[in-house]
């Protein structure tokens, strides 16, 4: 997989990149229910950060606090150098937000929505028209620009939503589940849009419940579970956290399976499937030494598969989901 690893934690001069978003000990609860239980974040300017988590983990609440929509109960956060609690206007001037639910005015046309944003950003009439036309063009909405936004498809509404967010050139963009509910084609279009934003130097904070999306887009990923950050790092770092890689040997003959299980120590058994799992990072050297061991023990499996860890393993291991089969190697 081609995964652009960007230098996010340090630059060549040894100084850390300035943080576009940082948070320490963010807490929020609604009544008895604790939604965020101490969140720490640091997102370098110009990078893509993904907050990954299941439904109800607190992703939207995090975005709402960082975008000044709601106040945190505790902790503090800075966005674009402004404190969200004491200087919300400074934060608002620097950010663009696309929430989980469509934030377009359905009663007016796509073009009118864009001009409304231009007016609220205090662009001049001609500048507003130019920006609106450019963005509608860029997001492939020119043909429907004169139609009421309520008649748009889900993908079109999302694109209009993001186009509206981009009026006024925000330097930090929050995207709350930008592809939830989109068909595969619209999702790929949205990914392309996000990649283009990054190439313009914008900092993107996105939330998603799709591991593939985080893996595809983000420089750094934080796994949010039940109001806490369960792990944080690059996709590669997260994958290393969970030694989910293994070689699986499957046998047709129960007797061969039993003798192999006896001969190999430190393996986990799956008696029903007549399969053994041997921890392995999947490198050629480890595979060769494993094959040597099998040969010298006289074991001949009917099937050998190499399983490398992916973000799914990380996700299920960290979020303690119960719908995944018991992982052999922990």
């Amino acid at each position: 997989m081609s995964f652009p690893v960007m230098p996010t934690s340090s630059r060549t001069d040894g100084h850390p990149a300035p943080a576009a978003v940082s948070a320490a000990g963010l807490r929020k609860s609604y009544g008895d229910k604790t939604v965020l239980d101490g969140i720490d974040l640091r997102i370098p300017a110009g990078s893509v950060f993904a907050l990954l988590g299941p439904n109800g983990a607190g992703k939207t609440t995090t975005v709402q606090i960082l975008s000044t929509l709601i106040a945190a109960d505790g902790g503090q956060a800075q966005v674009a150098g402004h404190d969200v609690a004491t200087s919300p206007e400074g934060v608002r001037a620097a950010i663009g937000v696309t929430g989980q639910f469509s934030a377009v005015d359905g009663l007016i046309t796509g073009e009118e929505n864009m001009l409304l944003m231009a007016d609220l950003h205090h662009l001049s009439r001609s500048e507003g028209r130019r920006t609106a036309t450019e963005l509608l063009e860029r997001f492939d909405l020119s043909e429907v620009a004169k139609k009421p936004a309520s008649t748009y498809s889900g993908g079109m509404k999302r694109r209009l939503d993001i186009a509206m967010t981009l009026v006024g050139d925000p330097r930090i963009i929050f995207l709350d589940e930008p592809t939830t509910g989109l068909d595969p084609r619209s999702r790929h279009t949205m990914w392309q849009i996000i990649r283009e934003l990054v190439s313009d130097g914008v900092t993107v904070f996105l939330t998603t419940q799709y591991l593939e999306e985080a893996d595809q887009l983000a420089d750094r990923i934080a796994v949010l579970d039940d109001g806490r950050i369960a792990a944080e790092g690059t996709a590669e770092e997260l994958k290393r956290l969970i030694p989910g890689g293994h070689v699986r040997l499957r046998f047709a003959d129960p007797a061969a399976y039993r003798s192999a299980a006896l001969a190999l120590r430190g393996v986990s058994r799956d008696d029903k499937a007549l399969a053994l799992q041997i921890p392995s990072d999947g490198t050629q050297r480890e595979l060769r030494s494993l094959l040597d061991r099998l040969d010298s023990a006289g074991i001949e499996a009917d099937e050998l598969t190499v399983h490398t860890p992916d973000l799914d393993d990380v996700f299920f291991a960290l979020t303690g989901s119960t719908d995944q089969p018991e992982e052999a190697v922990r």
Binding site: V97, F101, D105, L116
Partner: protein, 263 residues
Amino acid sequence: MSSLSLAVRDSSTMLRRNLLHARRYPSLTLNLLLTPIVLLLLFVYIFGDVMSAGMGGGGADRSEYIAYVVPGILMMTIGGAVVGTAVSVSNDMTEGIIARFRTMAIHRGSVLIGHVVGSVLQSVAGVVLVGAVAVAIGFRSTGATALEWLAAFGLMALVALALTWIAVGMGLVSPNAEAAGNNAMPLIVLPLISSAFVPVDAMPGWFQPIAEYQPFTPAIETLRGLLLGSEIGNNGWLAVAWCLALTALGYFWSKTVFDRDPK
């Protein structure tokens, strides 16, 4: 940009948005105008003879009752129009775009101010429309000067402002448009139990305080005085006091609710 010019600029942007909504979807506004027009025609042409007979000791004719009922109908037009405001504010709050406005560096109150100014303009337009119907069926002012006409319009705009802020508060606390419509119903019912259709003296004694001590009666009596030359008395400053109090109440109520964190 200074905070005042920011407020004016953003509020006028929001006003344009509201007027655009009203122009694209006029059915709600027009439906609400229908009620006072139907009531006007009903009371003048169906009940008119009985109403006139009951008023002037048997001698009054229909044109006298038209003159009596029109100021009440005009106030009722405002009450009806602001029900539409409660509904559209409630509708608006369920839209995701309000969350977007809240995360933008714009004047925070501009969303509500846009609604209020738009609603007052629509109310006044409604009053002019219903007033035209009244004139068409024979309503004439009796010797009102230009200044009195101006004061009459000022009074109606002030009533519209007061009722609009109350309606905005109702719209903000209502979970959906239907609830907002129901919550704002008193604004249509109150004129019915005011001096709009019959003089307060003609009502049962126990009911007279209810009709007397509510905002519509002094406002309607003042409007009658301005257009028809009847006695205004205390009603003038009572009407203005009611309007200012309701405006302040509605404003602070709406502002408090709007400034709360959205759910």
